[in-house]
C-alpha cells in the first residue's frame, strides 16, 4: 500500500484514507517518526492513550537494584563486543 500526500501550509500532512481505514486511525492518536536513513522515516501510528502505550511498550520491566545492574552489565558488555569486532 503506497500513497503520496502533499505538505500543506504549516507543514500539515493528511494521512491517506487507505491508511486511516486500515489502521482505524482516530483524531488524537500519536504518530512517531523514527529516522531510518537521511531520507527515510518510519511513521508509527499509536493510540492516543500514551500511558497505556508506554505500559505496552515497556511491559515486564521492573526497576530493582538487580535490574539496574543487569541493564548496566548489558550496556557495557554490548559495547565491549562491538569494540572487539
Amino acid at each position: 500500500m503506497t500513497a503520496v500526500t502533499r505538505v500543506r501550509p504549516r507543514y500539515v500532512v493528511t494521512l491517506p484514507r487507505s491508511i486511516r481505514k486500515r489502521r482505524n486511525v482516530r483524531v488524537g492518536d500519536n504518530v512517531v517518526w523514527l529516522p531510518v536513513s537521511d531520507r527515510e522515516f518510519l511513521a508509527v501510528i499509536l493510540p492516543s492513550d500514551r500511558y497505556q502505550v508506554l505500559a505496552d511498550l515497556m511491559s515486564g520491566i521492573e526497576l530493582s537494584h538487580e535490574a539496574r545492574l543487569a541493564a548496566e552489565k548489558s550496556y557495557f558488555s554490548s559495547a565491549a563486543r562491538k569494540a572487539r569486532h
Binding site: L34, R50, L54, S59, A67, A71, Y75
Partner: protein, 132 residues
C-alpha cells in the same frame, strides 16, 4: 527544580504501581528536569529484557514527547558530570547510570532528586524526595 530519574519514566506506564504518584508529581512540581542518563538507563533496561531497538525508540520518543508537553526539561550529561560520576563510583556502591544521574542532580539548581532508591543518599549531596 527537582530532577526525576528512570523510576519516574517507568512510572508513566498506566499499570505501574507508582503511576498515580508520577502524575501527582507533575502537579506538585510545575518545573522538573530529567537527566539524559535516565533515558540511557531506561533504554538499556528495555534492551536487557529483550525489547527491540524499534520498541526502545518508540518508548523513548513517547516519553520525551510526554515530558516536553509537561515542560520537563532534558538536561544533558556534561564532561564534568562524567568525571564526578567516576569519582562517586570509587567511593559508593551504585551503578554508573545512577552515578551519572546523581552527578547531574548535584549540579541542578536546588539539588533535589525524586527517587525511591536510597542508594542516592550515599553521598549526602542531594535531597532525595521519594516517589510516592
Amino acid at each position: 527544580m527537582p530532577v526525576v530519574e528512570s523510576e519516574f519514566l517507568l512510572a508513566l506506564r498506566v499499570d505501574d504501581r507508582k503511576h498515580k504518584a508520577a502524575l501527582a508529581t507533575f502537579d506538585k512540581y510545575p518545573t522538573l528536569e530529567v537527566c539524559t542518563a535516565a533515558f540511557l538507563e531506561t533504554a538499556w533496561l528495555l534492551r536487557s529484557k529483550g525489547k527491540t531497538p524499534t520498541e526502545v525508540s518508540l518508548a523513548l520518543s513517547l516519553l520525551k514527547s510526554e515530558l516536553e508537553s509537561r515542560d520537563v526539561a532534558e538536561i544533558p550529561v556534561t564532561a564534568s558530570q562524567i568525571g564526578r560520576a567516576h569519582d562517586i563510583l570509587t567511593r559508593h556502591s551504585m551503578t554508573f547510570f545512577d552515578a551519572l544521574i546523581l552527578a547531574n542532580a548535584e549540579e541542578s539548581q536546588d539539588r533535589r532528586l525524586i527517587s525511591s532508591d536510597s542508594s542516592f543518599d550515599s553521598t549526602g549531596t542531594v535531597e532525595r524526595i521519594p516517589l510516592k
